[in-house]
Symmetry: C2
Subunit: 590 residues, 2 copies
């Protein structure tokens, strides 16, 4: 049996020098360990996702080919599978094939090209790649026959996906005609809600169906709003998981019998997999959500040369969760939490923010805003007809002004401190209905929770309090009070207006979002849909219709804001992050 | 000969009701005029560009098909060509064909599908469409044979594009085998620098080459950062332009002999076209640039329900040009110019801003910022080790604070006034090197000049002063002084630092930008390139290298800002607007 290395590396798009060096280092290490074969992820040498960079920076292409030769030269007594963007050199074709070079004893002995080019969701393969014209995908090595696949080529199994197959051809079925004993899948597959369960069941079923071993090598890293989780693995001929590399971390796994360490499995996932439906509830996705965001923060900061973060701490849910994620990602000493109370901020909120910061051990400052707001307000007198009236004080203008002044302070602090980024704390539920302020809470150098809905954030809060080494870092009050930006007072109650009064219950809103994102529900579908909220609350048909209409109206007006969300981490299976979903601002969906 | 209508309409993506009503109104009007044939643009019924909206809003698809039947019912005694997104109804295929329905006497008598699916630049056809499986593209009508093409299908003529053809097949050549007497091209083609000249030469050469009439019907409108210029036209069998509809405006042109009014031709364009190279300089593109932006502003505001704009007037070039464009687009009564001088703003700048506003007749206010800045500064003391030092006063923090406070004021004013948008005044040269402030001058609800370089803006200033009805609206001083944000003082000169001191001459920078965008130049190419700046100035090789390296370094750090540019108008043939070009923030191109 061959000794094999799964080289689950992290790359940077276009940074050929760094990527090549990392690949060569791995090959050297594999040779030291007398490995026969080392496998890298899809597009490892070019780095992925690379967007349009090569269109305007053509020299990258030459540099990549030169580097591939240099890597090949290092493959004496070893075989390496290295993903790269292979120029088609034909003006009538797309610029590249998405290829895996088979390097052996100093030479490129074969090139395997990707056949299925995904062009949905975050994938734009067809913008850059020609489909494979199908050369041999078999690598023979010491009596073993390895069948090489590139990512999507393994995602069209007709017995698994049935009527959901989106391509005619199944490259695995075709490849099996060449009698491989082991399949190898080189991938760049970002982590999304539920995807791990699908991949696990799919790969296992392919191994079992064809009676072959299945080796999956995935990139670990973050770029362009996507967290790639690595989690490379091997299934045996019975479809059993025999090896599982680290998640959200680079890894270098050596195996001489296709088995090894199985790193921590997600909730509900079994070593022996039968094809099954996973009804994902929050519980089974919280750990992944946490890891995926923490990893995204670490990678974004590191790769862009930042070390510290500053965020506003309101004593509310969003900023509290962000503070925990940042502290865990960057270290408590690198996080600055600033409480910026205005005249209407409650003493409870101020107190909760402070306790949270103390619990986490992050830097904490309190900066009362009142005088700053007054000064800016006085600059605005020229533009207002109703200055000095109660209406003025309660206007959207003054609400937003507070949020914008807070962001201005955060950006100023980040300007003054080297390698520090301000953090946008707004969440996905708010993004959908535009309930976040431009240049305010949705402004920042990074937006950790922009793809997490409010109800999931509440669950995540409980999860973090239970599962972090330090228990209950988030004060219980924060997890219990109704969300609200504390930007204005309800004259009837004398208290700050909570968000659900202005919009609708988050539980209801988040269920709309889920069905729009995952099932393409329109107005009629939603009206017919029995909401979970309805099973627990008395809801008139008029109220239901009002909320659904409000959702459509508010989300129509919010599209502009979706286009300017700061860098973030796509967490859910679907998102409004522009890396995945693009809705023109001028459009009508309802 | 048939009486033909070119229905150059403006549509809204997904707004089936409005689009269908407009199409039906045009058909009714055509029938009143006894027309035989009416031609609409590509995807007229669905509206274009529609991005991903149908993926999450599936009911749009059904509504579109229903509307198509309703439109067909209106075609007694007339034939209508209506572009629509035709569902493939096959899970193994992309969701749609990009089709033109041939409607006649109440029925859909044929459907012509697009063969060539562009997937470069702003086009993402392959994300949504299957290529045509080639049914008949001929419409026979009263003895004439019309060959129907959809946009890109006419853009692969091998004798015209030669080695730049990007597809194997030329659908026009294939279609000609069916002996049409007239070609009809239904398009959605956005306006870009130089594109009009290419289209004119291409269509003319096709008409001449095959000895057929050529009818081109293009959408007029704006969406998703793209201005569609309309400018539908007809060429005769000799390749001569015989009819030219309005540009950047809807039009309804009736012709009974394929000739008619030829609306204003751009500089250098002839009625009789030979294939030619157009060396576009600024002069021949300024009028189009102006119209394209003004149209974009009008459409964006109208379609989103806004009427008024507020912008900061610094007395500099960028804000002055924006003020003129806004006044012309929205009417002077709908534009608010706010001068917001800080302590270091020169009296000249204040004065220039005021004169400009008076010339244009827009609303004008002067709001001295000093006290507001002081108040916010005092809130920041907690974060700074060097408060009360000279260094603090001159820090980037304080520079940016001024810009951010200005934007806060503009957003506040827009909040307070109904249907008002704040304007981002930063330009393309600044965007490339990140010389614009997040939440400051690059923040707004619309960014009119985000795709216009500084040198082109100077030329545009002269052009506007000469060619607008009101001459010399922009004070000459604004067009002559060196650009600079007036955010800090140079201690040596005692004057505010101008931008070229901090960066490099704009003429040099803009030439880099041009060659990167249009020719994919890298570092070595630029070092070898003889800059126009070099022909006029003494430039050492060290200085040249320093500037080029500075460009690459600064643009690498600026990528984050490219992702959050507000809605704008793509003007040049290439852009950094994300509708066209996407570079991951984590990437390396140099």
């Amino acid at each position: 049996m061959n000794k094999i290395v799964l080289a689950q590396i992290d790359t940077i798009a276009g940074n050929i020098k760094i990527n090549a060096k990392k690949i060569i280092n791995c090959i050297e290490k594999a040779k030291e360990n007398n490995a026969d074969l080392i496998i890298f992820p899809e597009l490892a040498l070019m780095g992925y996702p690379f967007g349009d960079i090569f269109i305007r920076h053509k020299s990258i292409i030459e540099r990549q080919l030169k580097a591939l030769d240099e890597i090949a030269a290092k493959t004496e007594n070893i075989t390496a599978l290295v993903g790269f963007a292979e120029p088609t050199k034909d003006a009538n074709k797309k610029p590249f094939y998405n290829s895996v070079a088979v390097l052996q004893n100093g030479k490129i002995i074969n090139i395997v090209r990707k056949r299925l080019l995904p062009n949905y969701s975050e994938f734009n393969d067809y913008r850059y790649f020609e489909p494979s014209d199908c050369v041999s995908q078999i690598l023979e090595l010491n009596g073993e026959r390895y069948g090489i696949l590139v990512c999507e080529d393994s995602f069209n199994d007709k017995s698994f996906f049935k009527e959901e197959c989106i391509y005619d051809v199944d490259p695995v079925a075709e490849l099996m005609k060449q009698n491989p004993t082991t399949l190898i899948n080189c991938s760049c597959s970002p982590s999304r809600t539920g995807k791990e369960y699908i991949k696990n069941a799919l790969f296992s079923s392919i191994a079992r169906k064809y009676g072959v071993n299945y080796i999956y090598v995935n990139q670990a890293g973050y770029a362009d709003n996507l967290s790639f989780d690595g989690t490379s693995r091997i299934y045996n001929k019975n479809g059993e998981l025999d090896l599982r590399a680290k998640s959200f971390e680079e890894d270098f796994v050596i195996t001489d019998n296709l088995t090894g360490i199985i790193n921590e499995l997600p909730v509900g996932m079994q070593k022996k997999v039968e094809v099954q439906n996973f009804n994902l509830d929050y519980t089974s996705d919280l750990d992944r959500t946490y890891k995926s965001i923490v990893f995204g923060i670490q990678e974004y900061f590191r790769k862009n040369g930042f070390k510290k973060a500053v965020l506003g701490l309101s004593g509310g849910l969003d900023s509290s969760i962000c503070a925990v994620l940042l502290a865990d990602a960057l270290g408590k000493e690198n996080v600055w939490g600033i409480s910026m109370p205005s005249r209407i901020t409650s003493s409870e909120s101020k107190n909760d923010a402070k306790i949270l910061a103390e619990n986490l051990g992050i830097h904490f400052f309190e900066v009362p805003l009142a005088e700053g707001i007054d000064a800016v307000k006085s600059l605005l007198n020229f533009a207002f007809s109703n200055v000095d009236t109660e209406k003025y004080e309660k206007s959207t203008t003054i609400e937003n002004l507070q949020a914008r002044l807070r962001a201005t302070i955060l950006w100023s602090v980040s300007n003054e401190h080297k390698q520090m980024l301000p953090i946008a704390t707004s969440d996905k539920s708010e993004a959908y209905i535009g309930y976040a302020t431009v240049n305010g809470d949705m402004s920042g150098g990074f937006a950790p929770i922009a793809d997490v809905t409010k109800t999931k954030l509440f669950a995540l809060g409980d999860f973090l309090n239970e599962n972090r080494e330090q228990k209950n870092a988030i004060p219980q009050a924060i997890l219990e009070k109704p969300p609200g930006a504390e930007l204005k007072i309800n004259p009837k109650t004398g208290k700050t207006v909570c968000a659900e009064e202005e919009n609708m219950p988050y539980e209801f809103l988040d269920e709309i979002i889920w069905f729009v994102e995952n099932c393409g529900y329109g107005f009629e579908d939603l009206m017919e849909h029995k909401f979970y909220y309805e099973t627990k609350n008395c809801l008139t048909i008029e109220q239901k219709e009002e909320w659904i209409r409000k959702y459509f109206w508010k989300s129509k007006c919010a599209v502009y804001k979706w286009h300017i969300i700061p860098p973030s981490v796509v967490v859910d299976m679907h998102s409004i992050n522009s890396v995945e979903y693009r809705q023109p601002i001028i459009s009508c969906v309802y």
